[in-house]
Symmetry: C2
């Protein structure tokens, strides 16, 4: 008699796969875990796969061949993305969020683990994961979203600092002009943080003129890294010409009118197909 029933195997299999996004599991690892035949595990996977598809819970993918197996791809469905945009635009449009200087208070949103989780999944869904070896961000606000994006893709996160730290060893430093302050700032990254020549995805919370993203691209050049994409939670519509091209924003900030107390946000409709 089998040690576990099909119901039980499926419950455990779903948990293990979803806990380790994009990690390839051989069928044999489940054969061992459950003490069941390979063909039985295959049937379990088909069942989980079909209900995930039907309810838009992400993609359980089987890959044939010797290096193959089964993995969970934590992508966001169109419905999930739409729900996310709806809720977030509503929350962010609250005039109480306007801060002197025309800034938008977003810390409670971008540090919220569930929001960061959804944003990370949606951002990850915007890019081809082949060739992404690291997700890169710069401290501080982009970290939660970048971490969740890295988790969805199943790669390490690299965080550039705004100054030199004694605990990082030898560093590579570059200067950049921050869009929000207009001042020259420094970005610093430990020399051992990245393998030379790796593909990286740059993730940040907010883009205005694109100075910080430009800085990250310059920093990546020093590591001979290949930037395969730039994703941000939100970008301002103005200035229209940014210092970087080919970035993907989840939302556009169209207007913050401090006097009238009006905030206008719209989702990037190209993402909801």
């Amino acid at each position: 008699m089998d040690r576990f029933k099909r119901n039980e195997r499926i419950a455990a299999l779903v948990k293990v796969l979803c806990d380790n996004p994009n990690k390839m599991y051989s069928l044999n690892s489940f054969v061992e875990l459950f003490g069941a035949a390979k063909s039985t595990i295959s049937e379990d996977i088909v069942i989980a796969k079909s209900v995930f598809e039907e309810l838009g819970l992400g993609v359980i993918e089987t890959v044939p061949g010797a290096a193959g197996g089964v993995r969970f791809r934590a992508t966001a469905s169109a419905k999930e993305s739409m729900d996310f945009f709806d809720k977030l635009s509503k929350k962010l449009s609250d005039p109480k969020r306007i801060i002197t200087g025309g800034f938008l208070y977003m810390a409670d949103i971008i540090y919220n683990p569930q929001i960061a989780y959804s944003a990370g999944k949606i951002l990850a869904s915007c890019f081809d994961w082949n060739g992404i070896k690291y997700v890169v961000t710069v401290e501080t606000k982009g970290i939660p979203i970048a971490l969740m994006t890295a988790r969805a893709i199943g790669v390490p996160l690299v965080i550039a600092r705004r100054d030199n730290r004694v605990t990082e060893g030898p560093t590579v430093n570059i200067n950049f002009v921050s869009g929000s302050t207009g001042r020259i700032q420094t970005m610093s990254l430990s020399k051992r943080a990245l393998e030379r020549g790796a593909g990286v995805l740059i993730i940040d919370d907010f883009m205005k003129a694109g100075g910080t993203a430009r800085g990250m691209m310059d920093l990546m050049k020093e590591f001979e890294a290949k930037v395969v994409g730039i994703g941000v939670l939100m970008t301002t519509v103005q200035p229209y010409d940014k210092l970087v091209n080919n970035y993907i924003p989840l939302m556009y900030l169209e207007e913050v009118d401090e006097k009238k107390g009006v905030i206008k946000i719209k989702p990037n409709h190209q993402l909801i197909r």
Copy 2:
């Protein structure tokens, strides 16, 4: 006929629960999602619950009563904690990690999404979640672990900054003496980041003398917050007398000998019961 089979319902139920740790779902929400009877859903839950228990995948908890329902508690089993400690101590004991000044390079470890996920679960498992309304940390290195701890407990994350930021609005600032640099530093938090009088759990990556943790406690006092606990990934054994009491470390750093290239780390055995 039911829209979904038991297998399928269980696969989806596990995914939904595990995606939203510590969030209470009424049985009715699953009745609606699956178009099945409440008693059927109850039986589904019992099956998932028992296999989670048997394989140490976390706890599916049913709470009776009107406000009750079912939720997933993302706690770490003793086996998972031990595996984590084993792997991590081995990785961290590599002499190549020693940085001039006797520091330990840890960025690749503490920024790794899967390691942060496990560390967050284990740290969360050390505390009573009742009364925790926020997880609090200070930028930068503690953020990934603190985010994952907050996610496991199902509460928001609050991040104090090391300087004032124009995008945060009015802030509360305190000074503290950093253990690693010995210099007076500033910690800053937006006045709107925390509700007055809330219970908070302080999480950080590393503790030496406890100056930063002390600073966070002082900062919390300004918000009339009740600190229900302090958790850190690693603490040095020396100095034995820290500036805070009642902190829980996952690991102890016993020694970094720059000359001999020796690093000694031991897990907090009290956590593995």
